[in-house]
Amino acid sequence: MRLPEVTRSVTFRWGLAVAGIYVLFVLALFAAIYWQTNRYLTVRSDEVVTKQAEVLARADAHELIDTVNLLPRQNPRRVEHAGLFAADGRRMAGDIAGIPPGLALDGIAQAAMILAGLDTPVAQAVRAAGRRLPGGEVLVIGRNVDEIVEISAIVGETLAAGLLPALFLSVAVGMLLSLRAQRRVAEVNRSVQRIVAGDLRQRLPARGSEDPFDRLAAIVNGMLERIEALIQEIAGVGDDIAHDLRTPLTRMRVALERGRANARSLDEARTVIDRAIAGLDQSLAIVTALLRIAEIEHTRRLAGFSDVALADIVREVCDLYEPIAEEKGVRLSVDLAARPIVQGDRDLLLEAVANLADNAIKFTPAGGNVELGLLSRDGESVVRVGDTGPGISEAERDLVVRRFYRSDRSRQSRGVGLGLSLVMAIVKLHGFGLTLTSGPGLVAEIVCPPAAGATRRNES
C-alpha cells in the first residue's frame, strides 16, 4: 500500500499543516471582507433612509402622500419601502403595512422587521428610520438589507470555489513532494545498499538540479570518492607489503633450508643464520617504515607546531650527510639564499629533508653533485634538494610518492622505497607541497606557502 505510507511521511504532514494554516488564513480574510462590506452597506442604507425621512418630513401633506406612494415604485430593485401612518396607526400612504413595533420615531436608522410590498406584502429585514411629523402622523422609510445577505452568500460561494481547490492542491502537492522525497530516499538507499555490499564505485544518484537532495548527494559522493581512494590505497599497500615482505622471507627460507642441509660446521651455520637475520632486519625495517608513515598520517598534533628555522634544518642535514656523500665521492653543497621561518614540527621536517638528501646521495653516482638549497619564490619558501643522478621519468613521478613504489633505478639500490612516501606524509601534515622536477637529475622541492603552518595551527 503506497498511500498510507505517503500520508505518514513528514513532507506530507508538513503539506497538510501548511494547507490548514492556509485555510484558516483565507477564512479570516473572507470574514474580514464580509464584515467590512456589511458595515459599508449598512452605513450607506442608514444614510439613505435617514436622509429621505428627513427630506420627506419637510414636505407638504398632500405632496407627502404622493411621494410616499411613489417611492416604492421609483427604485427599480424594489429595495426601498415607505409608509405614512395617521396618529392612530392607520396607513395613509406607502407600501409598508404597519408601524414596525419597537421602532424609535427619532429619525435615526435602525434594524427592523416590516411587512411591505406593493402587491402582496412580505416580511423583510430592513434598515428603517421613523419620524413623527408635526401633525402627529408617522413616516417610516425602510431599505431592504437582503443585499447584504446576498453578498455574504456570494462571498461564501467564492470562498468555497477558491478554498476547496486550494486545499486539494496543497494535499496533492504535499503527497507529490512526499512521494518524490520517498523515491529519492529509496534511490539513495539502493545505492547505499550496493556500496555496503562492496561496490565501492557506486555513487548516489544526482539529477543535475540544484535541490538540496542533489547538493547532499554531491557532498556524500565526494566523501565516497575519498573513501574509495583510501581503501584502494590500503588494498594496494597490502599487496605491496605482501610482495616486499615475501621476497626477503622467501630468500631467508631458502637460505635456512639449504644451510640446515649443507652446513658442516658451526661457522657455516652461523653464516647462514647471519644472512637470515639480515633478511629479517630488512623485513622489520619495512614494517617500521610503514608504521612510521601511518603514524605521521594520523598525527593531528598541529598544536605542537612551533617556529622552525629552515636554514638550521638544512645545515643540520648537511652536517649529518656530508661524510656519507664524501665516502661515496659525491659533492654535497649548501646554498642558503633565504632564511625563512615556518610553522611546523622540527623533528618531522628534519626527517623529511634528511630523507630527500638520503635519496639524492643514494642515487647520485660518484663524481656527481647534490645541492641542498633554501630559497624564496613568489612569497613561498622552498627547500630544494637537487642531484645529478638519473632522475625520475615524468610518468613515474606520481607513483614514487605512493607507498612502496620503487622506480627501476631504486630496485638496484637498498632501502625499502618508502622514503618519498614518508616525505609526502610529513609535507601533507604541514600543509606544504612536494614537487619533483627534472634538473640535471632529480630536483625535489618542499614548497611552504606563507604561514601555511600557522593557519593549520589555528584550525586545531
Binding site: 647471519d274 625495517a285 617500521t288 623533528d347 638520503d358
Partner: protein
Amino acid sequence: MPKLLLIEDDRETADEIVAEFTDLGFDVTWAATGIEGLDQARAGKPDAMIVDRLLPGMDGLTIVEALRKEQMRTPVLVLSALGAVDDRVRGLRAGGDDYLTKPFELVELIARVDALLRRPVDNRDTKLRVGPLELDLIERTAKRGDRSVELLPREFRLLEYMMQRKDQVLTRAMLLEEVWKYKFVPQTNLVDVHMGRLRRKIDEPNEPPMIHNVRGVGFVLRAPA
C-alpha cells in the same frame, strides 16, 4: 647480580627477555599483570624495570606513575607497540627513563637496560678521560696521549657522548637519538659512516684500537688493555 623486573603480559615475549637477561647474569622476575608487577616492584626493590604499556586492563604508565609518587627512583624502560612521538613523550613524562617501540631487537633492549643501570655520573670535571684519550670540554680539544686530535663539532659531540659511557655498548638508535636528536632511523648507515671517520682520527694504525664495533649491536669505547 643486578635485579631486573619485567612487567609484560605476552608470555612468549616475556620468556625471550627473561632467558636472554638470565644468560647475561641478571636476576629476572617476571610479572604478567600490572597489579602483580606493582607488588613485585615494591617488595623486590629491583635495580631496573622493563614495563610494557599495553597490559590487560591497565596502561603500564600507571605503574610507573604510582612508583614515582612513592619516591621510587628505579630506572624504567617502557616498552610499547605504540610508536607515536606523542606516546614516547608521554612515556618519558610519566617517569619512564627510556622508551622502546615494538618490534625491537633484543640486543637493543639489552644495550638500553645496560645504559639505564649505569647512567653517566654527573661529572663536574671539565675534562673527560678514558685511557690515553682526553677531551677538554671548555677548550673543545681532544688528545690521545701526546697527539692532538682535530675534531669537527659533530665528531666532538659523538666522542663526548661515548666517553661519558665508556665500556658500554651503544646501539645506532641510541646514538642517533642522543647525539643527533634524531627520532627515526634513516635508511643509510649514517652512524657507521660517522663512527668510521671518528675512529680513523682516534685510532691510528699503529695504536691499539679504542672504538670497537660490536657485531649486530653497535659500538663501544674502551681503554686499550
